[in-house]
């Protein structure tokens, strides 16, 4: 019996839990305790958001996969009942709407203009260049002072350098785009902050598209510019796609590098296993396990129902907001035995850290290769790597759309 939900009514009970929930003190790698309780007791139930709206929160793995793949579920961020994470995020998704916030056929049309660069063969061809970037940043770190902030010295530059190369954006501009995307990935930003940061990035990418129209190169923005020239894509659409790829392309992987490293340092048996293995399959498995275990996209995938949907004993009505909490889905014991144990050998390829359905992460092949290069190199090159402060003193991104650490002082 589901006591916290009121299917089909406009007046859900007043005692609904607020979402997102808070992680337990001292457990920075685990989802909030309230999500475990909901998954066990009321796996599809209503929660209350910042604006008073009461969308459904879905906490079980199988239900999440079913709904994310359901064509009756929309990702359209302009739908009046779309459950936005905050006022600034609502502003951002309205002002610069890329294909992740659209439904087919527009979504498919725009996504397919960016997919070639992320095909497995294309990304595999980048592996040596990515390895070189990783090696070079480790060299620089070892030659520099310690302790050092691992986020600024390594975790952020790796994916920033890679995505700049792939898109054809000058890395010299990294302070500009990193600071704006850092603003935009805060759940708590105001409308004004979101509007200004979004506009700066849209203008910047629009300028880049203009440059590529004048001077085409072998990069993804030039491919988009060519589509603009051919009249298949508007310049505004091209800029919005560029903003999405640039911000998503470095924030997420950077957080996986820093938080993944901190997690391994807190699980020395797993770190030793990874460091001492020469098996690329164990490295690949460790990447999947850390993606599952950390599920850094911790604010839920957000959708809205277009038709009535019966699932798990409840009826989600047309127009209801739906939030898929993949962080707790990846800790569902029905899908992952002993889910709260980090086991770098379990290779949980069926995790939902990249989402599921037609919006599943476009950049996942690139993220995998970047993380494999990092996790297979860093801990061997710096076997005495350690955190230079107490765990309690590390600033975690509790207010981030994407979870991670703002800073990670390390030494060796």
């Amino acid at each position: 019996m589901n006591t916290t939900s009121a299917p089909g009514t406009d007046a859900p009970s007043a005692d609904l839990p607020d979402y997102p929930m808070t992680r337990a003190a001292g457990c920075p790698f685990d989802p909030p305790p309230a999500l475990y309780t909901l998954q066990a007791q009321a796996p599809i139930s209503r929660v209350r958001l910042w604006d008073g709206s009461t969308p459904w929160l879905v906490t079980r793995y199988e239900d999440q996969r079913a709904l994310l793949a359901d064509p009756r579920i929309s990702a359209d961020s302009t739908h009046p009942h779309y459950p936005h994470p905050g006022p600034g995020q609502k502003e951002r998704r309205t002002q610069s709407r890329a294909f992740i916030a659209m439904d087919d056929p527009e979504h498919a049309r725009l996504r397919r203009m960016a997919t070639a660069a992320f095909a497995i063969k294309h990304v595999e061809a980048l592996r040596p260049a990515i390895q070189k970037i990783v090696d070079g940043l480790i060299d620089a770190m070892l030659a520099g002072p310690k302790p050092v902030d691992f986020v600024q010295a390594f975790a952020l530059p790796v994916p920033s350098l890679v995505i700049c190369e792939l898109l054809g954006v000058p890395y010299a501009d990294h302070d500009f785009f990193q600071s704006n995307s850092k603003t935009l990935t805060k759940r708590t930003i105001t409308r004004e902050q979101a509007r200004a940061a979004t506009q700066r990035l849209v203008d910047y990418l629009d300028g880049m598209i203009g440059d590529k129209l004048a001077h085409p190169a072998h990069d993804l923005l030039s491919t988009l510019a060519e589509r603009v020239r051919a009249g298949e894509l508007s310049r505004h659409e091209a800029a919005n796609t560029g903003v999405l790829l640039l911000t998503a392309g470095h924030e997420t992987t950077a957080n996986m590098i820093a938080l993944g490293t901190l997690t391994l340092l807190q699980h020395p048996d797993q770190l030793t296993r990874l460091r001492e293995s020469r098996d690329p399959q164990l490295v690949a498995s460790a990447v999947e396990e850390l993606l599952r275990y950390l599920n850094i996209v911790h604010s839920g995938r957000r959708r809205v129902a277009l038709e009535d949907i019966e699932i798990g004993g409840v009826t989600i009505r047309a127009g209801d907001g739906v939030i898929l909490a993949n962080d707790i889905g990846n800790r569902d014991p029905a899908a992952f035995p002993d889910p709260d144990r980090l086991d770098v050998g379990r290779n949980p390829r069926h995790h939902v850290a990249f989402g599921f359905g037609v919006h599943q992460c476009l950049g996942q092949p690139l993220a995998r290769v970047e993380l494999q290069a990092v996790y297979s190199t860093l801990y061997r090159r710096i076997p005495t790597l350690q955190v230079a402060v107490d765990l309690d003193d590390i600033p975690f991104k509790h207010d981030g759309l994407v979870y991670g650490v703002y800073e990670l002082p390390i030494t060796w």
């Binding site: 793949a69 397919r112 203009m113 997919t115 095909a119 497995i120 063969k121 919006h359 092949p365």
Partner: protein, 69 residues
Amino acid sequence: MKVIVDQNKCVASGQCVLATPEVFDQREEDGIVVLLTETPPEHLADDVRQAAALCPAQAIWVEEQEKKE
């Protein structure tokens, strides 16, 4: 087993190529799935089933055929 793919549903996530590169490839121009063989050998059957299960767009079907005793 027989494998069927739907290129219209495919979203080019690459999951199938990672699972079974002997059976699945991607189009050069947009990363959309290309089926290399409709009837993969038995030793790849589990990998193909995994590819179908992982496909986020549910664009891969596997028809199991009864074994001849």
